[in-house]
């Protein structure tokens, strides 16, 4: 599969303060990749380096097979970027902002901006000055701006901060469609792990300037989930359960087991079904957030 982004042993410091310390990462064409990590881990710096707006100290970078330091303009013309502050002009209206950036990106068609304004629910606000927009509106316009030139690669830095739950859901749905319908490769940096858990194909965990773990959620789970907490909603009474299954908590109708193997789950369920009814079962603590903390813990 074609690798659209490749970083090999990249170092970058600002004023002698190291930010990236041997960053290695790859992003495959057509994927949605989540770049996760605490504040100051180097997420934003990575986006800047990949777009060639800052230079690296050491290492190798390739985007579309090009060197961002030498072919920055070519790379930037193929990329859309949503920066954390959205970077819009408050004295211009929403449409004027898109028109201005459209001219910079060589997209001057009115229909393009109207389509985007419509997609992000801003058509009726297009003549209002951006200074009077709410945080969520600015964010949506910022994303519309990032999509102006029909990018092949999209960088989204904290795309959902400032959006209400509805706005965040709409945006994530839009991102998913963009990836499915147009095959746009997307790199998302965020703190809000729950939102992107199901959106991303792969995750990169960045900590202190290095990628400390990467993979699909399943791969990461297989590596870090050493025991399985399974909660079962059932009418089987506790006394009927063999002691070979470790029962952790039980409330009327809900039992939580600790299993050391994923393959033990169907065995347990079959046993319960023999003795009564099972209404639901779920594995606890397998969400992205739990993985995130497990990975960071392991990294220390």
């Amino acid at each position: 599969m074609e690798q659209i982004i490749k970083a090999v042993d990249v170092y970058k410091s600002y004023h002698k303060e190291p930010v990236l310390k041997g960053l290695n990462l790859t992003v495959t064409k057509g994927q949605i990749v989540g770049l996760l990590g605490p504040n100051g881990a180097g997420k934003t710096t990575t986006i800047r380096l990949l777009n060639g707006v800052i230079g690296l100290d050491k290492g190798q970078l390739e985007v579309f097979g090009l060197n961002p330091e030498k072919s920055g303009d070519k790379i930037r013309s193929l990329c859309g970027v949503l920066t954390e502050s959205a970077g819009l002009y408050p004295h211009l209206s929403g449409e004027q902002n898109l028109a201005f950036f459209g001219e910079l990106y060589g997209v001057e068609k009115k229909e393009v901006r109207y389509e985007l304004l419509k997609d992000f629910g801003l058509l009726e606000h297009k003549d209002k000055k951006v200074g009077s927009y709410s945080t969520g509106m600015k964010k949506r316009l910022g994303i519309a701006k990032a999509l102006l030139a029909n990018p092949e690669l999209l960088f989204l830095d904290e795309p959902t901060t400032g959006l209400d739950p509805e706005g965040a859901r709409d945006l994530l749905g839009y991102i998913e469609r963009l990836n499915k319908d147009k095959g746009v490769t997307i790199l998302i940096c965020t703190h809000i792990l729950k939102q992107i858990e199901e959106l991303c194909h792969r995750f990169l965990f960045l900590d202190q300037g290095r990628i400390i773990e990467e993979g699909t959620l399943e791969e990461i789970e297989a590596k870090y989930l050493k025991e399985f907490l399974v909660r079962v909603e059932t009418d089987v009474s506790v006394s009927k359960i063999p002691t070979s299954f470790q029962l952790i908590t039980h409330t009327p109708g809900k039992l939580t087991f600790k299993l050391s193997n994923k393959s033990d789950i169907p065995i347990l369920l079959r046993l319960l079904l023999e003795k009564g009814s099972v209404y639901s079962s779920e594995i606890l603590g397998r969400d992205l957030e739990t993985m995130y903390f497990k990975i960071r813990e392991a990294g220390r």
């Binding site: 600002y14 777009n51 707006v53 303009d73 920066t83 970077g87 002009y89 950036f101 001219e103 910079l104």
Partner: protein
């Protein structure tokens, strides 16, 4: 070079000037005071009183005596019989010229100082640098915006100034006394050259500093030499004649080219980008 982007940036920067009260107010008020209010007061005073008695004009009279007889200024002055006429003619056509030079330079400096520093303050420089536009086009777009504004101010100010002097001065002269040929050289040679220099300097400062305030304080350094010029001239060190204006403009242009040449080597996207982070 990306003409489309240059045009877009120039247009956007000009619109940001007109929508910023902090910038547009001094840009409009200062020229009005210099080009209309101040000349009007002076002419009206001279029409109703004798300037020679009002102030000590010894230094100016001394300059007049030193003028070579064949110079065009001396010939012009010889057509006036009244001392008031001579002084008004001299003041508005010659002594005022450096002061007039200040107007476009001040305006251009303000806009140029705001160029990159303003983008940094509004946190828009980042998205500008993420665009596929080469840094030279970006820079040129900003310089052009300040230059258009400077020339607009100069030409607008020139028209207002000319109208004020000629209309209010008509009862005194019975003819238009403004402009003399030196003004065309001033307007289309010295002002463009010095505005360009001031803009380059301010854009460079603007790219280095973090905010508009800081950039604006630095821009004082461009105005200082002109104030020096003004004082030295009033002291009678020299009288501005056309030849001197040609030289002055040429000098300004020469320095601009050197500054520009030095700047192009120093201007790069990475440095500009990092200047906004720290």
């Amino acid at each position: 070079m990306n003409i489309r982007a240059i045009k877009a940036i120039t247009k956007k920067d000009l619109s940001s000037v007109t929508s910023n009260v902090q910038i547009i107010l001094p840009i409009i008020i200062v020229p009005l005071i210099f080009c209309v209010v101040f000349p009007a007061i002076l002419i009206l005073i001279s029409r109703f009183s004798d300037l020679n008695q009002a102030t000590n004009l010894e230094p100016i009279l001394k300059i007049l005596e030193k003028l070579p007889e064949e110079s065009s200024l001396a010939k012009d002055l010889a057509t006036f019989t009244d001392l008031n006429q001579k002084l008004i003619f001299l003041f508005f056509n010659y002594f005022f010229a450096p002061m007039f030079l200040l107007i476009p330079i001040m305006g251009a400096s303000l806009v140029a100082a705001n160029s990159f520093a303003g983008e940094k303050e509004r946190r828009t420089l980042e998205s500008l640098l993420f665009a596929p536009v080469d840094i030279f086009s970006l820079f040129l777009g900003k310089v052009l915006a300040a230059f258009i504004l400077a020339m607009g101010l100069a030409i607008g100010g020139f028209i207002l100034y000319g109208l004020t002097i000629n209309i209010l001065g008509y009862p005194l002269f019975n003819r238009a006394i403004f402009p003399q040929s030196n003004w065309l050289v001033l307007l289309f040679w010295v002002i463009p050259s010095f505005s360009f220099l001031a803009i380059l300097f301010n854009v460079a400062v603007s790219a280095k500093v973090k905010g508009f305030q800081e950039a604006n304080q630095m821009s004082v350094f461009v105005v200082l030499p002109i104030i020096f010029l003004l004082i030295s001239q009033i002291l009678g060190a020299f009288i501005i004649d056309t030849k001197f204006l040609w030289l002055l403009g040429g000098g300004g242009l020469f320095i601009s080219v050197i500054v520009l040449w030095r700047m192009i080597g120093h201007f790069d996207r990475n440095r500009l980008f990092e200047s906004q982070i720290f």
